[in-house]
Symmetry: C2
Subunit: 109 residues, 2 copies
Amino acid sequence: MGITKSELFEKRQNRMALLAKAFDHPARVAIMEYLLNNQTCICNDLVTELPLSQSTINQHLKELKQIGIIKGEIEGPKVNYCIDVAVWEEARDMFMNMFSKPVAANLCD
Amino acid sequence: MGITKSELFEKRQNRMALLAKAFDHPARVAIMEYLLNNQTCICNDLVTELPLSQSTINQHLKELKQIGIIKGEIEGPKVNYCIDVAVWEEARDMFMNMFSKPVAANLCD
DNA sequence: TCTATTTACCGTAATATTACGTTATAACAG
DNA sequence: CTGTTATAACGTAATATTACGGTAAATAGA
């Protein structure tokens, strides 16, 4: 994107924005869902599963790893990816907290 | 961004990615939180509240409106913004569903 | 009518994202 | 050693995002 002035917002708001990025692209939603259903995967599993090239999928894995919500363990020539439970739970708590706030009935129509 | 090949993913995954965009920038998190706490707001409230220019804030409001998670009602020279409850609940359901799936203990370290 | 308030829109610059092809590397089987 | 498989890394092009200043339009009130 352009420059995001993250220094001007609360730490918590920046953190939530970062974690939301794990879900803000359909490929990353698909990858997270795959990991939820299969515990682990290697890049090639996703290449078979998703209609994207290996390099594109690898880029999404890299971004998810950068966010911290997944981890990769090198195992010979492969890398085993899995969800980082601590970060996953942090994200869950943040979204739960956001969505647990009461919302008034539509006030403008 | 670059081109997102949304036609290649499930409708649900594209929908989730869209809704996640309401939270993938700290300014939008701040706007959503402001609306949760105050029910409604006008653009100028946010200009006072947030360290961003009016045009930038207006752009974020436009994006949130495009996502559908907020609505705007014209009232004289002002526009009253509020959360669209139906879309909010759709987002809540999607994230709840995502985070309700059991996550295996870390399988790679 | 004049003015202040409020918002929307335009243009711009800088930067990030998405996607792919290509190439490099590392482990393993034969 | 060679070929296969798996992944990462590099370069690129196209497009989206973020942010701002400036400007225009619309309403409310003096």
